[in-house]
Amino acid sequence: MSLLAALRWAPLLLLCGVILGAIGALALELPRTALAEALGSPETLFALGFSLRTSLAALGLALLLSLPAAHLLARRRFPGRAAVETLLDLPMVTPPLVAGIGLLFLLRRDGLPGSLLAQAGIELLFSPAGVVLAQTYIAASVLVRAARAAFGAVDPGYAETAATLGLPPVWVFLLVEVPMAGRALLAAAILGWSRALGEFGATLMLAGATRMQTETLPMAVYLNIASGRTDIAIACALLLLGTAFALLLALRLATAEAGACRS
């Protein structure tokens, strides 16, 4: 290999090496038996199950809100649309910790929304519902942007034709536009889910870090590193990395197939 070729590959190899090095260092930090024990511990299993449950609930909520909102943005022109789109992009560039503080102040009991929710018997702060809210907030910001692009890529002529074929508007959306944007929406959903799964900052502010109650995988890493239980922290970190890798691989396959279909 010539020096030029080696230099060309070096940055890529260095980046991959750093990522693999960090994962390997985590995996090799503990003896294999201790790691297996930590992976099977009740706290690790709780964090894994809780993370999957809350992130799936958040994904469902985010889809319910984001798909109709993204469709409206893709199909309708209205005054201030650019400002609305920019506003919806804001959570993507705001640190989740800051978003969490804002939501915490918005929903505290002495504020109007918080007191109304409390009167209705709904407790969002420092509860599993708060975890779902924080994850929904983060997932929705990713979803709405990706879904808007996905709907924008579907020729509106299909919806017009469907309408002349007797389909009411909601069914045009569900039976024509969603399936036609399907692969791109699937990719968006996987990305939104992975963001929800790895969410930490907003969750910490809204739901707190309570062991075996609001303990997602990232929260378990934080709690156990802070309390010196490195074995549980490493087990949770590895589970989080493994799940994220599987989701990102699925995303890559979904988008690759979408590309193949288009061509």
């Binding site: 020729d155 299909y158 309408a163 002349t164 074929l165 007797g166 069914w171 024509v176 399936p179």
Partner: protein
């Protein structure tokens, strides 16, 4: 009673238009690109906000959404749903018709045969030839047994041989079913082949052809 009646109907770039189309009549509206031909069809289909009156089968269409207008619309791009087979495209068009499932299946097979596309019923649009796609889209437009057909240059992308064969078949089929049709085209040969009457549309205004 005319099948279609427009009274001072106007939208976007169209000047107020008065027009009548009798049952079984095929009217070609000839005009160059940008004359407002597609706008005229979208106005009749309810796909654009319209001022003035649009009446189909003697009923005022004010406030009637496109899915309740009982018409078959063939656009230039056809817009066959790519995620559904030809049969699936027809089934979707009948899904909200109120017909029992068994009657729907029979109607679909009957319409596929009528449009000579039954042999491709299980295929997806991307795998069909240009002429087959036209036949599939025509079958989908006819399966609901509309009062009125709207054609927006649907045959313009075909080779001359296929186009002439389709003109002949579609014309015969329309006459057999006794359907009224509003056809917009820039091609005088297409107007002559498909229509029983012709008018011209230029810069948003109708005049005799």
């Amino acid at each position: 009673m005319p099948e279609l009646k427009l009274v001072a109907a106007r939208a976007r770039t169209l000047a107020p238009i008065d027009l009548e189309l009798a049952r079984g009549e095929a009217l070609a509206v000839l005009g160059p690109s940008g004359a407002g031909k597609s706008t005229l069809l979208k106005l009749v289909a309810g796909l654009l906000p319209c001022r003035g009156r649009v009446m189909i089968g003697g009923r005022d269409m004010a406030g009637v959404p496109p899915h309740r207008r009982q018409l078959g619309y063939l656009s230039q791009e056809l817009h066959l749903f790519p995620h559904l087979s030809v049969r699936g495209n027809l089934a979707l068009a009948l899904r909200f018709s109120g017909l029992p499932r068994r009657d729907r299946a029979a109607r679909i097979e009957e319409t596929l045969a009528l449009c000579a596309i039954a042999h491709r019923a299980g295929r997806f649009p991307a795998t069909l030839s240009g002429g087959e796609r036209q036949r599939a889209a025509l079958a989908r437009a006819l399966v609901r047994q509309p009062r009125l057909l709207l054609f927006d240059e649907p045959f313009s992308a075909l080779d001359p041989g296929t186009r002439q064969r389709l003109w002949r078949d579609v014309g015969a089929l329309r006459e057999r079913l006794g359907l009224a049709a509003l056809i917009v085209t820039h091609d005088p040969a297409e107007a002559a082949a498909l229509a029983t009457r012709r008018i011209a549309l230029e810069a948003g205004r109708l005049r005799p052809a």
